[in-house]
Amino acid sequence: MKLTLKIWRQNGSQDKGKMVDYQVSDISESMSFLEMMDVLNEQIINEGGEPVAFDHDCREGICGMCSMHINGEPHGPDKGITTCQLHMRSFKDGDTITIEPFRAKAFPVIKDLMVDRSSFERIQQAGGYISVNTSGNTQDANSIPIDKHAADMAMDSATCIGCGACVASCKNASAMLFVGAKVSQYALLPQGQVEAVDRVKNMVAQMDLEGFGNCTNTGACEVECPKGISLENIARLNREYFKANVKG
């Protein structure tokens, strides 16, 4: 395949940045999208240029590092996958592909397609945990039976990989699906109840502070989430937040 790539190039956070066109050829259909990017970078290096910087690590859809906005969608046109799981057979010979970083005020660009998602870190630090020390003598794991249905739902929420596709796809750059998933995981488990009030209040306060937009329930996040985290998580977040404020 021969392709035209329109890629966002930005040399550092202070640079203004612009879209630059590249041509690549001999792209195999069985290549992953990031392998196509490797081919491009090899080509740029051989021509004496600076390769395109992009985040990636596990290349199997679980670490959440890769973060490209491809042809107007986070992680590209296919559903239920991350950028690294996208394969070139989803494109045709002669296609033009637009590649941009995930865009949000709370995700400033570091370089080219790399963004700084430390806002997610700070939200997690605000309450995304259960306060239990490592002692080796917490109660036996089976002393807290948990309804299988609740455990399965908590697992579904916990599969979030923190990639930020929800923010990138949202027209408001809202982080509610991300926050909703974490709050839900603990809200669905008995272990999470003790700190429920403070957790949701602190996490939402931090989310607001980071400059994410508000949710208008467009549902784009749910569609683009590589792990299929559902909007129910946002509804649960809203309920938990309301409950927490009523309680005090």
Partner: protein, 225 residues
């Protein structure tokens, strides 16, 4: 709770609660208007009651006005904030791939509804207020004293085709707004459960039937002059 309404989620609740109120109001408004198709007399009676009852006029009417203004102002504030959450825009943004046009354009459907509301107020509400509270005519009667004026005024307004067309467009925007807004309001207050599918279906029906009904009323009176 004071912090609640300053938070992003608190504002969602506020938008949803005002939306619920407005959606109930629209049903009531529609119920009265549709009477005009079946029984001019009944329409006149209820219009007079609503127009002169102190509880409605001095209790519900200010709340409604507040609800309308709140919903609009908050909607615009949130839109501005949401736009600020993405400073550099995408060169390519394929919203159709993951969301409906309606959900992404609430500000536009809402904005057109606001324009329509202004016209609607000029057409009906200001003349009413003028007649009742400035000129002090609380009788609700026609100038010649022969019966109530409400039905007469209504049909008169829908005589010119441009106004009918304008109202139709206004209701189409209302339909578009409600197609997303109805279920969205429920999601905002945290109602997402096994009933959600049914509720979404009901919401779609509501969003289409009510505006269509209003359009029908306008057309009915236009063609029955």
């Amino acid at each position: 709770m004071s912090g609640f309404f300053n938070s992003s989620i608190g504002r969602k609740y506020a938008m949803a609660l005002s939306a619920f109120f407005l959606m109930i109001f629209i049903v009531q408004h529609f119920a009265i208007n549709i009477l005009s198709v079946f029984s001019p007399d009944a329409f006149n009676e209820i219009s007079h009651f609503m127009g002169t009852n102190p509880l409605v006029q001095f209790g519900l009417q200010p709340i409604l006005l507040f609800g309308v203004i709140f919903h609009f102002v908050m909607g615009f504030i949130l839109e501005i904030r949401n736009r600020n959450a993405r400073v550099v825009k995408y060169a390519q943004y394929n919203g159709d791939a993951n969301s409906t046009w309606m959900s992404r354009n609430m500000i536009w459907s809402g904005g057109f509804i606001l324009v329509f509301l202004v016209i609607h107020f000029i057409d009906f509400w200001f003349p009413e207020i003028n007649t009742k509270f400035i000129q002090g005519d609380m009788s609700g009667l026609l100038a010649d004293g022969e019966g109530y004026r409400y039905y007469e005024e209504l049909t008169h307004k829908f005589a010119p085709i441009w106004r009918v067309a304008l109202y139709c467009v206004g209701f189409i925007f209302l339909a578009l707004h409600l197609l997303h807004g109805f279920s969205s309001a429920f999601q905002s207050v945290g109602a997402n459960n096994k009933y959600t599918r049914g509720l979404k279906g009901f919401g779609k029906a509501y969003a289409i039937i009510i505006p269509l009904g209003f359009i029908f009323i306008a057309l009915f009176h236009h063609f029955n002059q």
